[in-house]
């Protein structure tokens, strides 16, 4: 049995506005991605066109990364008891830099404007350097014995690597930096997918899945070793890719694929043992997310053995939109009402029930549109149909607009509960 005194700083919890500013602007990048696809449905035909790169980064950085940064400010104090000092002004500064940086990056990639790419590299580089310092400060003070704080540290380090590789790529495109483009690109994708987002997803899932979906805990040996093994394997794979040892790169790549499959399969298995009688929207979103991740991994393997251009595009859609976006939307539907409730309670205000702050029906309907958007994206990429591409654009714009409307609904209920 272990006991400890309250030595950690849990008294500096951030204001509701700290994560909220990220959560409320991130869906706008998703709406922009939908509009871009509506205007240019041919972007799904090739992954290397400037427009396709802009589309990917609107979702990957504008939505996924923005939410993750905002969530980390809140996750650290709630699950690890570690808060960042002066998180409000710091988050505002990081949010401004991140938002301007993503816009600049997408303009730079989309229209091939080198100056915008340099501006994006500077804005994103400074914002993330600030964020990494803040996260390191908070996580360094968290108890290392817990799997989540330790794995969040690894995820933050993984994000840092992905960012450095991304900044290098921006400088290659903008200023012709003499580095091997394809190698850096491969490493950037690997670290962004598994080192950053995948690791962050796993670290938060260790807590959030059992907590909100009423499942048993993940097996201890998985939470103890998954992130460490993934980080080590990414490092080995990177060495092999950089040294152009194709056999070793293939072996380590296969082991990374196996690790991704283990995480997704373990999550799906836990959900089967949920004590919930009816799966709610978040549970459904996680099921869609994990199934899509598995399908995306299968497409990644297929892309290795087939020259067909559709496989890597399908892998990207299934992992990014089907996997990460599904899970993040599902998590937002738990985290935002919970935070609204928590902040009201901490202010000594009698808070409405979380189900009143956001009922399940609007969340479920929005997630159905999200699933339809995923199906349209997959069909458009597989068939090359411009009409399906336009339909996917409309549905993507609609799903993110609706997500924003649902989040605003919670904020309005929160404000309504505050004393006049």
């Amino acid at each position: 049995m272990s006991a400890h005194a309250n030595a950690l700083s849990y008294d500096a919890a951030p204001a509701f506005s700290t994560p909220l500013r990220f959560f409320l602007t991130a869906p706008l990048f998703g709406v922009a991605a939908g509009l871009l696809l509506l205007i240019a449905p041919e972007l799904l035909a090739s992954r290397w066109t400037p427009g396709a790169l802009a589309l990917t980064h609107l979702i990957a950085v504008g939505f996924v990364l923005s939410i993750m940064v905002g969530a980390l400010f809140q996750i650290m104090p709630v699950v690890a008891g570690a808060a960042v000092p002066r998180s409000g002004p710091l988050a505002a500064l990081i949010h401004a830099g991140l938002t301007a940086g993503v816009a600049s990056l997408c303009i730079g990639l989309g229209v091939g404007a080198p100056d915008f790419l340099v501006a994006a590299a500077a804005l994103l580089g400074i914002s993330f350097a600030l964020f990494l310092c803040a996260a390191a400060w908070g996580l360094w003070r968290a108890p290392i014995a817990q799997a989540t704080p330790r794995d969040l540290r690894l995820a933050v380090a993984g994000l840092g690597v992905a960012l450095m590789l991304g900044l290098t790529l921006a400088m290659v495109l903008a200023r012709g930096l003499p580095v091997p483009l394809v190698t850096v690109l491969k490493l950037h994708i690997g670290w962004a997918w598994l080192g950053g987002v995948g690791m962050m997803l796993a670290a938060t899932s260790w807590v959030v899945v059992p907590m909100f979906q009423i499942t048993p805990n993940y097996p201890a040996r998985l939470t103890r070793s998954w992130a460490l093994a993934t980080f080590a394997m990414l490092a080995l794979w990177s060495g092999a890719v950089a040294a152009e040892w194709s056999g070793a790169a293939l072996l380590f790549g296969a082991l990374l694929v196996a690790l991704a499959v283990v995480f997704a399969a373990a999550t799906l298995r836990l959900q089967q043992h949920s004590r919930r009688s009816n799966p709610d929207s978040t549970t459904r979103a996680f099921q869609l997310g994990m199934t899509s991740l598995l399908a995306g991994v299968a497409c990644t393997v297929a892309a290795h053995y087939s020259e067909h251009e559709a496989w890597p595009i399908l892998a990207g859609i299934l992992v990014l939109h089907g996997g990460f976006v599904s899970v993040i939307q599902g998590m937002l539907y738990k985290i935002v009402p919970f935070l609204a409730w928590l902040h009201l309670t901490q202010e000594g205000i009698r808070a409405p029930n979380v189900k009143k702050l956001l009922p399940d029906t609007p969340a479920r309907r929005q997630l159905l549109v999200h699933a339809a958007a995923l199906a349209a994206l997959v069909a458009a990429a597989a068939s090359g149909s411009a009409d399906l591409g336009r339909l996917a654009g409309v549905l993507v714009g609609l799903e993110f607009g609706w997500l924003l409307a649902n989040l605003v609904r919670v904020v309005r209920a929160y404000r309504g509960a505050l004393p006049a």
Partner: protein, 71 residues
């Protein structure tokens, strides 16, 4: 007799709500015990602010046990 709230297996913020209700009924000098699946960091902030004394321990079976003493 010390009151015990068993919040294990309940979806957040239900254990928090049960605790807040129980705290409201706690008389000065009375104690209560919470059994939870994880460490309730946000609750500690409220307990500190309102002058409750508290201690916590993680049992060998992973259950987090919180003891709260009303001011």
């Amino acid at each position: 007799m010390t009151k015990t709230i068993d919040g294990r297996g309940l979806e957040p913020p239900k254990p928090f709500e049960l605790t807040m209700e129980a705290l409201a009924d706690l008389k000065p000098g009375e104690q209560m015990t919470l059994l939870l699946d994880r460490m309730p960091w946000p609750l500690f902030r409220i307990l500190d602010r309102d002058g409750y004394r508290h201690s916590n321990q993680v049992r060998d079976d992973g259950v987090v046990e919180i003891r709260i003493l009303a001011p």
